[in-house]
Every structure is written in C-alpha cells, then in structure tokens.
C-alpha cells in the first residue's frame, strides 16, 4: 500500500492546482464583499457590511426569483424534450438510428456558446425563421416577439442544456433491468402502463440528476440571457456583470455572486436530499 502512494499522488497534482486557484478566487470574492465601494474608482475602501444590506431590495429578489424560474423552466422543458430522444437512443433496434441520434444529440456540445446564441437570434428574431414560417403558414399576421423575452431565453437555454440532459437520461435508461418491464407486461400492463408505472419510476434517479445538473448549470447562464434577453431579461449573472463591469461596483458584484452561489448550492442540497431518499428506496434488487 505505502509503496503505491507516490504513484497516485501524481494524478492528484492537476486537481489540487485547480482547487487552489479556485479557492483563491473564491476567497477574493468573499474578501471584496466586505470592502467598501469607492464610486468612480476601481480601488476599494475599508471593511463594511453595507454591501450586504444593499441586497435587501425588491429588484434583487426579483432577479433571484427570475433566475430561479428560468432555470426551473429550462430544466423542465429540457427534460421533457430529452426523454423521448434518450429513450429512442437507447432502445432503437437499428444501429444506424442510434448513431444518428447520438450525433444529433452531442454535436451541439461542440459549437461555441456565442455562435449558437447568435444562430438563435437569427431564428427567433422578428424576421427570423420561426416568425417567417408562422406567417407563411397563416398562423399569425404580424411577427410575435420572441427575441428579448423570457420565452426566447428559455428556448435557447433548453437547447443549450439538452445534450447533457440526453446523456444523463440515456445512461439511466440503459441501466434499467428490462425484465422489470417484461414482468409488468406479463402481468397484464399495457405498453402505456408499463412506461408510466415502471420505466419512468425506474429512471427517476436519472431524471432527478439530469434536472438538478441542468438547473444548477442554468443558474449561472450568462451569454444566452445577455444576448437573447438583450437587457430585458436579467438573470443573476447579468446583474453581476452590470454591477461589476458597468458600474464598476466590484464589492456589490461580489455580494451578488455569493448570493447566487448560496442559492444554487442551497437548491442543489435540497434536490440532493430528495434524490438520496429516492435512491435509498430503489436500492438494489
């Protein structure tokens, strides 16, 4: 055992380096949040708690709530759209169907966030693909606004989140003991009943972890709400950006960052608690 230790240590080096740098950054954020803002200057003053009292204003609660709702909606719709794709991806009988689905599901991961967001601007704009199509189909007379709305932001965020969601769900679906589904059918359950009463519950751990990951990920979304929201839809990162890089109020930006972090970790912990209980119930067999 002891002879092996030096061997493992070398694998820890990169992780430790990253952790140290990250901890240093986090420490600085924490430090800034307790320092006084000097208007018109990038320098900061002495110790103060004022930054924390300033957060107690409706606008920041609304931003926090908005971020929460948008993240929740993103996770929800990403889940809804990804499940059937993951299901087909795992269960498709033909190899080429699976391959095509894998490629379609994963490629968005390899296009940059900015490129993808600009593409969405083209699609969602008032003369964009969606509005043009709806108009030519006669469903609408005038362009409906999608750009600079919550709907537009969520659409882009969902697409952004889907590859990860699909991978997590596909993993969960591929790990089901398919004999359970066969047993249910054998006992007289219609395919529909089998899906809702066996398949879905058995993939619940995957559903929850997919939801949690996408939710937490979306909580920190920046460029999508920045570009597609165009300042009309503000998520917490956009407010941090405004404070830090428009008003140069770095201490308050630090406080907002901390609040976002605590909110994200808090909701993660809550969901983790739920998942743990579920997984405990479903353990083994």
């Amino acid at each position: 055992m002891t002879r092996q230790r030096p061997f493992f240590v070398q694998f820890l080096v990169p992780a430790v380096l990253v952790a140290v740098i990250f901890a240093a950054a986090m420490f600085n954020v924490l430090k800034y949040s307790f320092l006084e803002f000097v208007p018109g200057s990038l320098n900061v003053g002495g110790f103060t708690l004022e930054n924390f009292t300033r957060i107690n204003r409706p606008i920041y609660y609304w931003v926090l709530l908005d971020t929460f709702i948008l993240s929740f909606a993103t996770a929800f719709f990403a889940l809804l759209l990804s499940y059937p794709i993951s299901f087909a991806l795992v269960r498709a009988e033909r190899n080429w169907v699976r391959s095509v689905l894998v490629v379609l599901a994963i490629t968005p991961l390899f296009t940059g966030e900015i490129v993808r967001t600009y593409s969405w601007m083209l699609v969602l704009g008032s003369d964009g693909v969606v509005n043009t199509a709806l108009k030519s189909l006669g469903i609408i007379d005038r362009s409906v606004p999608i750009m600079y709305t919550r709907v537009g932001v969520v659409i882009a965020l969902v697409q952004f989140a889907m590859p990860v969601m699909i991978i997590l769900l596909a993993t969960a679906i591929s790990q089901i003991n398919r004999d359970c589904e066969k047993a249910a059918a054998n006992l007289g359950a219609t395919p529909n009943t089998v899906f809702w009463w066996v398949t879905i519950p058995l993939t619940l751990p995957g559903i929850l972890s997919g939801f949690v990951v996408v939710f937490a990920w979306t909580m920190s979304a920046f460029s999508t709400p920045q570009l597609i929201g165009g300042g009309k839809v503000l998520m917490i990162s956009n407010v941090v950006y405004l404070q830090g890089f428009s008003s140069f109020n770095l201490p308050f930006a630090a406080v907002l960052s901390l609040v976002a972090l605590v909110a994200a970790l808090g909701s993660l912990a809550l969901m983790k608690l739920l998942t743990a209980r579920l997984e405990q119930n479903m353990a083994t067999s």
Partner: protein
C-alpha cells in the same frame, strides 16, 4: 361467469400447446421445430444445457419473442399473434424482476390491479397469496429489505396471484445457495399442489428436474431430445445425449456378441458381459452399440458374483460425499469407470492404486445403437 370460464378451461385436456415452433436468429436455429402439448395442471420441465433454447421457447409462450414458424395455443386459443399483456401467463424471471419502487404488497397486487379487481378483492387475493408463500407480515417491506429467498417468494407470489393460465419459471432457483434451493424446491412442489397451476419450469440442473417434474422435456441445440416422466427418463434415455445428461453414467462402446431370447451378451473390448434380454432390443449379432451403466450399478465383486460380469480395475480416486462415495477406476480395455457406493467404507477398504475386482449389474443396462459406426 368467472366460475363457468374456469371449469371450461380445466375441462380442456391441454392448457398449452406448442405446435411445430421454430425460432431463428439470422441463420442460427435457437429453437428448431418443437412440438409439445402440456396437460392442464401439469408440471413440465424444460431441461437442457445452457444455450439450448429453453429461455427462447419460454419467451415465445409468454409472447416476448415471436416464433419464426409454428403456433402457440393457450387455453385452447391460438395466441401466436396475441400481445404479451393479453396472454394471461405468469412469468418468474431469473433476475426476479421485482419492482424496486414498490413494496411487497404492491408488487403482488400489480397484476390484479391491471385486471381491474375491486380494492377489497385485490387486498383479499394479495393477502391470501402472501400467506401461501409464507410472506405474512412483510407486505410493507421494500424489495431491497428482503433476502434472496424472500425475493424469490415474492416473485412467485406476484406471478400466481393472477391465477394465470400457465406459470412460466425461468431458472428461478439458480441464484439461490444450495440449502435455500432445496427448501425452495419443496415450496415449489407445495405451491403447485395448492394452486394446481399448469407450470413450465426451465432449468439446466437435472437433479432439480428429476425431483420437481411430472414430465421432463430434454432439449439440446434447439430440439427436443426426449419427453418422459422422471423415472422413465432416468431408466430409458432415448439417446446418448439424454443418457449422459441425466445423472452420471458410464458409456462403454460394445458389440453384440450373441443374442438369445433370454440373454444378450456383449463384447466390450476383450471383456464379455451378459445382460438379461429386453423386448425392445432389436440388435443383430455383431452390431455396434453403446452400453450405458450407472455408477450405482457397479459394486465391489464378492464370491457370490462367481466371476459373472466381473472385471479388474485400479482405483484412481475416491470422492467422498458423505452419504456415498464416487470411486474412479481404470479398467484395461474399458477406460475410466465411475462406481458409486453408499457410505465411505470403500475409501478404507480399497486404497488408491490397488487392483480390485468390480461387478457390473447389467439388469438395467441401457443399450443404444452406435450411430458413429
């Protein structure tokens, strides 16, 4: 109405009929032209080595696999094109396949709820089944809180609660340890007696098949080798495969030396032995056969044997098994021979390496035409 339907079914002689069923995967014949009528209330075992097509055949009865050819009738109705959930079979899986997100009660109730029984009927039937399977008091338990044997019983309870037209068991005992398996065998026999369900049981364990079944279907390479009652199968195997697969047996290449009405004498290498003649033997003089002798039909020779069917062998090993001892010997001209004697006395009496006289009791010898020659 329900009662009338039940009597109509029990009045049928065959509750399951497998008619010339085949299943091919690509060019591979997993099941090859199998026909098997199963009587109502019968306990039939599909027995064969791993990969011989037992699971595939069972899955075709349940409806999980479509036959490439042939038809399957359940309760007198052709169900070949009927989907799984309408076939009314009860399957117990090797993996148990219990629903981990439901407790014992809900697992057992699952099939009944699909059948739209009233709540009180469901409760009544579930509790009745749970009691029969000795699971009382465990209704509220999670599946993960049960031992292997208990999970096995829940799986059985879930399948029999719906009183299926046929119960399908795919190697249900193979995941249990030895003592638990013996106990579950007894419970399976009791369950079958209590419910009277037509049962198809799959196993690769010949001991299990012999102890449980009304009839055994021996399969190899997708084909039925023989269908017979356990004792008949053991005594009169239809071919070399069945002879070697059921129980231990010594296969001796032999030639018919002389055949009279009362006796048949065999030349085995340069050794001559005589066996009482059986009516079904149609061998002519000089014909090559395989003679199969069970280890329990060989013993240490005594003076009473008077040199009849006696040969000299050298003990290679003793395998002491408590109630009996398996002794391997080498006999010149015969090759290795296995002998089975009760108790362990033989270990001391005939040490390894010692030449000893052994006598063959050929009153139950099995003679089969040697196809290879």
């Amino acid at each position: 109405m329900m009662h009338q339907k039940m009597t109509a079914i029990t009045a049928l002689e065959h509750s399951v009929e497998i008619k010339a069923v085949s299943k091919t995967f690509g060019s591979f014949h997993a099941v090859n032209n199998v026909s098997l009528p199963i009587r109502t209330g019968e306990f039939v075992t599909l027995l064969g080595p791993s990969g011989c097509g037992k699971t595939t055949l069972l899955n075709m009865v349940a409806g999980f696999i479509d036959p490439s050819a042939g038809a399957i009738h359940i309760g007198g109705v052709d169900v070949t094109d009927v989907p799984v959930h309408l076939r009314d079979t009860g399957m117990v899986f090797q993996s148990y396949a219990l629903f981990p997100h439901m407790n014992v009660f809900d697992n057992v109730a699952f099939g009944l709820r699909q059948r739209k029984f009233s709540k009180s009927e469901v409760t009544h039937k579930v509790m009745q089944t749970i009691e029969m399977m000795k699971l009382s008091g465990m209704e509220g338990r999670r599946i993960s809180q049960l031992s292997g044997g208990q999970q096995q019983r829940v799986a059985l309870a879930r399948a029999i609660a719906i009183q299926p037209k046929v119960l399908l068991l795919d190697e249900p005992l193979s995941a249990l340890d030895k003592s638990l398996r013996a106990q579950m065998q007894v419970e399976l026999i009791e369950m079958h007696r209590n419910t009277g369900l037509t049962t198809i049981f799959v196993t690769h364990d010949q001991g299990e098949a012999l102890s449980l079944s009304d009839r055994i279907v021996v399969m190899n390479r997708g084909q039925i080798q023989q269908v017979a009652e356990p004792i008949d199968l053991y005594r009169n195997p239809a071919n070399g495969f069945v002879a070697s697969f059921i129980g231990e047996i010594n296969a001796l290449p032999a030639a018919i030396y002389q055949a009279s009405d009362r006796e048949i004498s065999l030349a085995i290498g340069n050794i001559r032995m005589t066996a009482p003649r059986r009516a079904e033997w149609q061998f002519g003089q000089g014909e090559m056969v395989q003679a199969f002798v069970r280890p329990e039909h060989i013993r240490i020779a005594t003076s009473a044997d008077a040199g009849c069917n006696v040969v000299t062998g050298e003990v290679l090993t003793h395998i002491y098994q408590g109630s009996h001892t398996i002794t391997r010997l080498r006999v010149d001209g015969l090759g290795p021979i296995e002998m089975r004697l009760p108790g362990g006395d033989v270990v001391g009496r005939v040490p390894v390496g010692m030449p000893t006289q052994i006598a063959f009791d050929l009153s139950q010898v099995i003679l089969l035409a040697d196809k290879s020659s």
